[in-house]
Symmetry: C2
Subunit: 432 residues, 2 copies
């Protein structure tokens, strides 16, 4: 009895450590040290690579199955006006002679970059392609027991969005290079979308539609202070007042600037912003994404259930696995983020109501940089040994805590997790 | 002088041999021997694999560059009603008690297959995926000097259509398996469409729009004889006359039946048709495709110029090659067929006016089965040797004749071909 309590205490300590280790430094300090983090979902995966060693397999166990969901790598911005709108604003001001030297230089950079964006909105970039080559390579390195298996069957599927398919290509090419005998089946089809990028349905759609907008607008209002930036770019305050939506322009430039890390380019715009401004702009997005996809009280915490079909697919596919194999799925951050919450990785399944202090406990860049991914690694007893199937979860290749008891973190009994998740899904279905 | 003439005569003989070898058997006899051929562009590539050995490289030469354009592999039919329409016609007749035993059996087969088509129209099938694994594997086997090169750069691009991208994936996976050091860059983007699947423009659009329809309709009229098939399916001729568009139903069933070879299935429908009917239905499509994409006199022979940008890309890319490498492009039969004509492979650059005897000289299944492809292999003198760059052309992995003189078929001086093609494009641009 005493031993059990001790174990539980140790466990709790370990679990807390796993969570709190990430947050010993404030978000603002992290962003000050690495401006790229302010990019939220535009963060280049390779600028935040894991450094910790993976925990060795439990004694007598070997990994035999990987179940994976990964987001596409870095991409151009998507919206029709994302590049054109700030460009137009600055061009008009230049024509009126209203730009400072910095304003002119900024315009020049945008003019130089703009042609690369034509018919390229949303496309995977070379940076994004490289991220997935790296992830695929490390998969094979981290789990050779799986990925070096002769004639390994790999089932790899992607949403119908081309940048996701190309991300799949990069990983699969690396897996073939690591194991020329692998037998990969790739599939992409509208018929798979129901779980690879489930449309918002039922309560998720109803609550997702009407909540969070007010709070997001409030955050935008509170954290947008464009005065300094406008003075930096324009030489006439009256012109700005009369002709420019300053807050909008600031957010537009911020998006272009933070997403420049998605390209192999020396065009640099991040230095337009102070660390305070980067942090403030990031906070707006940190709050917004939490409201849309996290366990926010505003949506009764149900948005993670947007990935109900995906979690079912993960469980049901795992149920069919009787030999060494891998299931790879490729899609979007709007799936990875709520899936991490639904799986209750680390503290992402918790609800936070104090949006002003949200980033003490929730930092979106830890969850969904470009190419973010969730890997569930299944372990079985080695030949001749007995024992339960165990699972290790990894978010962006970092081991995480999962919602079950364990005395050998980060390894959990799959049956415990499976039961927990199925009950959770059943309760949701029942409207609880 | 005498020697030159002799060489020219030999050459002509070789060239003719290259063409006429293919046509010693009539199209009807070929189709009788292999019903799948009647599928035109639905033909499974693997049911018509090349058997001839490739000609060894010329003495002192080695292959160093492959320039490739390939069509996606086998796919589901594309049109919304392709499966539903014939199903509906037969269902209605069944409800009225108007189907024979064969009609009922046919309906049962369609009913069984239909669910696999939901949200799958146009998707690559497992048969199609396998075709490209085979092609990629043979590429590496046929040209190890290229594909086994350490750190080989491969530039692989596809149209934005998913079945094309997945075809690219299959080939690239094989190339990585053959050479784990290969460095593949994959790209898919709207910005590449102008040459990967050029829209009909200018004279091509003007002539392509209005010509051939009359001739296609005439061929349809002449070669459609559904009477026997209707008697086979329906037990009441008056019902057919009153309720069924017999010619349309025949063509619909023919499309479903011939495309069943695109699937790993034991559902079989081809046996509904006699060899005569298969041949007749194929003729309609053989004529139609020739009119749309071949050097038909009806369009002044200009439809192959629909691939003007693609040919320019092939030439301009080849101009940049200074090291061992490969350029792979993936797209559609509506590009491969006119490209083969534009390149004047074998006799495909010739004009034929007698549509009733078209298949003596033009058989679409030789040009564009599923996964059809054009490979241009560039050869350079081995280290320490001197000589011109030579090129070998392959259509569906078979060596072809090209529009230049050579004394070592199938190898041609690249400069001769390059000059010929550039002049041809310039003349077209000049409106000649």
């Amino acid at each position: 009895m005493r031993k059990t309590m001790l174990t539980a205490t140790l466990l709790a300590a370990t679990a807390m450590m796993a969570q709190t280790t990430s947050f010993t430094v404030s978000a603002k300090d992290e962003i000050a040290a690495n401006h790229y983090l302010a990019g939220s979902n535009y963060l280049d995966y390779d600028r935040q690579l894991p450094t910790a060693q993976l925990t060795p397999a439990p004694k007598g166990y070997e990994p035999y199955y990987m179940s994976h969901y990964g987001r596409h790598g870095s991409r151009w911005l998507i919206g029709e006006g994302d590049y054109r709108n700030p460009l137009t604003t600055l061009r008009e001001a230049r024509d009126e002679g209203m730009l400072t030297a910095t304003g002119l230089e900024t315009l020049k950079k945008l003019e130089k970059f703009y042609p690369t964006t034509v018919k390229r909105l949303g496309d995977l970039t070379t940076v994004g392609e490289r991220q997935h080559h790296g992830i695929g390579r490390r998969m094979a390195q981290n789990f050779p027991e799986i990925f070096k298996t002769k004639n390994l069957p790999i089932d790899a599927r992607s949403t119908v969005v081309i940048r996701c398919i190309l991300s799949m290509v990069a990983e699969c090419e690396e897996l073939m290079a690591a194991n020329p005998t692998a037998r990969i089946h790739n599939d992409v089809s509208e018929s798979l979308q129901y779980y690879l990028n489930q449309p918002w349905e039922g309560r998720v759609r109803d609550l997702g539609r009407r909540t969070g907008d007010k709070e997001t607008r409030e955050a935008q209002q509170r954290y947008t202070h464009p005065e300094r930036l406008m003075k930096l770019l324009f030489n006439n305050e009256q012109y700005v007042y009369n002709n420019v939506r300053a807050g909008e322009l600031m957010r537009q430039l911020f998006d272009v600037a933070t997403n420049m890390q998605s390209h192999d380019t020396d065009i640099e715009l991040l230095s337009l912003f102070t660390t305070d401004e980067l942090y403030d702009q990031w906070r707006i997005r940190n709050v917004g994404w939490f409201l849309d996809y996290g366990c926010s009280p505003v949506t009764d915490g149900i948005m993670p259930f947007s990935q109900e079909n995906l979690l079912r697919n993960i469980i049901e596919t795992a149920d069919t696995v009787t030999q060494v194999q891998a299931t790879l799925r490729f899609g979007h951050e709007v799936c990875v983020m709520p899936l991490a919450c639904l799986l209750e990785m680390n503290s992402y399944g918790e609800s936070f109501s104090d949006l002003d202090h949200l980033d003490d406990t929730w930092r979106n860049y830890r969850i969904f940089p470009m190419a973010c991914n969730i890997q569930l690694i299944f372990y079985r007893p080695k030949k001749g040994k007995q024992g339960d199937i165990l699972v290790k979860g990894m978010l962006n290749e970092r081991e995480v805590s999962l919602p079950a008891h364990t005395d050998q973190w980060p390894y959990y009994r799959w049956q415990d997790l499976r039961q927990h998740y199925l009950k959770k899904l059943a309760d949701f279905e029942a409207g609880k």
